[in-house]
């Protein structure tokens, strides 16, 4: 009986385990069993109440950014540019002197080689040496002249281009200035005319009032005299007529005086207006001229800086080319000398001499070239340091400002990240809550296309804005 019961229990257990296995086999391969939902996080971020803060932070960062990049680099002033060019010219002269010295050193080097050759006649040797130096000098000199011509042409062209561009710009600026000035004149004259008209109207009113008052004051006296005149005898009549005439004359005099006074007032006012217009015009012209001058200075500095940089590059490349050409000049000189002395001295002797001379000269040239280049480099450094000092003075002030801006931007970026993170956490929290309630196993975002998955975006949006 016990075995039967145990068997029954075990059979039941087997059935349960098998059922469980069947049910659990490959449980989530079927899409109906895996509940996936999607959510558009970027849309929800824009719907979140804190998004306003994000936009504010963006705006603030933009304003700081634009302020930061709005700081224009200060260019060298015209005076400093002239100084820079002067020192550049000095360096150029020095370089030419060094080249000359170099050729003298080459000569000395060639003379020292002379003593080392024993198989060739000293006279011939001297001739060879001199021919070699001469040929070298000529080849180098010709190339230097070519390069110098090219450089001068470029310099002239650059100057011409710059001055043409400046002239065109100045013409444009002046045309614009004149337009603005004429517009301002028109405006000022119109205003002055309006004021003058108004003032004249006021004076006219004043005169009418004056006349009215004058007539009113004398009215009773006049009537009295006219009445007397109608009843007076011949003797009295003359007297009354005289009185009446005196009264009318006085009236006319007073009117005339008033008119003169008003005319003078009007004339003064007109003059005052004209003075004002003239003063304003002068001030406007001064401002516009300053503006034109400022713009011209900035443009000129821009152009000079650009052409100076271009010329400096060109100068450097010419220097390098010339340095490279020195070895070529030696080769040319060697060929010429070998050709010239071929029949007079054994070829091997000339070649030995030339080869040894060439090697020595080349090493000496290299050493000298390095020395000269180092000097030139030092000079360039000095020039740069000069302009750098000027820059430093202006940039030092900006540096502090930049530092502050960069710190503010850093803080703003941190704040933005924090707000964004809190928004995302909020969204994720809501998504998790809905997923838990609805038995959703996975919630995804950034989905390229949703076909049949449950979209939680609207539900979360409602929760964010209850």
């Amino acid at each position: 009986m016990v075995y039967k019961l145990l068997s029954l229990f075990i059979a039941l257990l087997v059935v349960v385990v098998l059922t469980a296995l069947v049910l659990h086999a490959n449980p989530k391969e079927n899409k109906n069993q895996l509940r996936v939902a999607v959510v558009d996080v970027s849309k929800l971020v824009s719907l979140h109440p804190s998004f306003v803060r994000l936009k504010e932070l963006d705006r603030e960062m933009n304003s700081w950014e634009s302020g930061r990049f709005g700081i224009a680099e200060t260019l060298l002033s015209s005076q400093e540019l002239a100084e820079w060019e002067k020192s550049e010219k000095e360096a150029e002269t020095k370089w030419e002197a060094d080249v000359h010295e170099l050729s003298l050193q080459q000569k000395k080097a060639a003379q020292s080689i002379q003593g080392k050759s024993s198989r060739v006649d000293p006279k011939e040797l001297a001739l060879i040496q001199s021919a070699l130096n001469q040929a070298y000098k000529e080849a180098l000199g010709q190339r230097m002249r070519e390069l110098d011509t090219a450089y001068t042409r470029q310099l002239t062209e650059a100057q011409k281009d710059s001055s043409q561009a400046l002239q065109a710009y100045l013409n444009e600026l002046l045309a614009f200035r004149n337009q603005r000035l004429s517009a301002r004149q028109h405006e000022l004259v119109e205003k002055a005319e309006r004021r003058l008209k108004k003032h004249a109207g006021a004076l006219q009113d004043e005169y009418v009032q004056f006349e009215k008052k004058l007539m009113g004051d004398d009215q009773s006296r006049k009537l009295d005299l006219q009445l007397k005149l109608s009843v007076a005898d011949v003797k009295e009549k003359e007297d009354v007529e005289n009185q009446l005439k005196t009264l009318e004359d006085r009236e006319e005099t007073e009117k005339g005086a008033k008119q003169d006074a008003l005319r003078q007032d009007l004339s003064q006012f007109r003059q005052q207006q004209l003075d004002e217009v003239s003063k304003s015009m002068k001030a406007t012209a001064l401002t516009l001229d300053k503006e034109v001058q400022g713009k011209m200075n900035a443009r000129r500095d821009d152009l000079f800086k650009a052409s100076r940089d271009a010329l400096k590059d060109e100068q450097n490349s010419l220097r390098l080319e010339l340095a490279d050409y020195k070895s070529k000049a030696l080769d040319i000189a060697k060929v010429q000398v070998v050709e010239r002395f071929r029949n007079r001295v054994p070829r091997s002797s000339i070649e030995n001499l030339v080869a040894s001379s060439q090697t020595q000269l080349a090493s000496r040239l290299d050493a000298d070239r390095l020395q000269i280049e180092a000097k030139l480099h030092a000079k360039e450094e000095q020039i740069l340091a000069h302009s750098e000092t000027y820059r430093k003075a202006t940039l030092a002030i900006k540096q502090g400002k930049r530092q502050i801006i960069s710190e503010v931007l850093h803080d703003l970026a941190k704040e933005k990240d924090r707000v964004l993170l809190s928004i995302r956490e909020d969204i994720m929290k809501q998504a998790q809550l809905i997923a838990k309630q609805e038995g959703i196993e996975a919630v995804l975002t950034n989905v390229a296309m949703n076909i049949n998955a449950r979209d939680l975006t609207d539900d979360i949006a409602k929760r964010l804005h209850p």
Partner: protein, 241 residues
Amino acid sequence: MRHEVAGSETSNTPKMRFVGLAFLVVVIGLASWFWFKGGHAKPSMACVNREAILKLPQFKETAPAKTKDLLQEMNKTAAYLAWQHHYSVILDKKVVVSGVEDITPEMQSLLLSNKPLPSFPAPKVSSFVGTLDHNALITLPAFRDVQSRYSSLFLNSKLEFEKKSENLPPEQKQQLKSLYETELNAYRKKFISPLFDHLERMIKQVALEKNLLCVISQDDVLFGGTNITPDVIKKVETNGL
């Protein structure tokens, strides 16, 4: 005697049955233990923080030319983990909002150990998530043509704007700029947007035919998913854009 024999038969049979059943239970128990150990109890979807993986020393210190090999190594490791734990798809963590197991630490330790992976059969991939390679789609001739026309239009507009706006005051410059932007927008709306709309419809058709839940960019998937890119390209080539 017969009773005795009968008695002994009746007493032996249930005992044997019990032993047989007990053996069966043990076998089934063992089978189910192995089954569950094999990973069927775990969810079939996992995710990996690709950003954290790319910060591992071997990715940081590798020359750009070899990065491709390392990325392949990363995907191979993902495939190995998928086989080991029976995941049908492994996603980049950035597309997961909730509910997917994060296996980044396991992957990190595998990659850091620098040991070669044991050989494993290609794991099964799930069909409920579709993947799409956008880079392959935008190189289709129709897209290429319209894109190159748009690029040349953009370039010409830019040059023209720079030339015209050189001496203009800021306000007029802004007006001119918005004029060009409107022109470019109109071009995009007329020629580019309809192409993308049509392509989207085709992707949806393919996804529906394959009974997919959603489609994810190939870049966000480390392993698995049904790549529908070839089908979409085929459809585009058959029907045109």
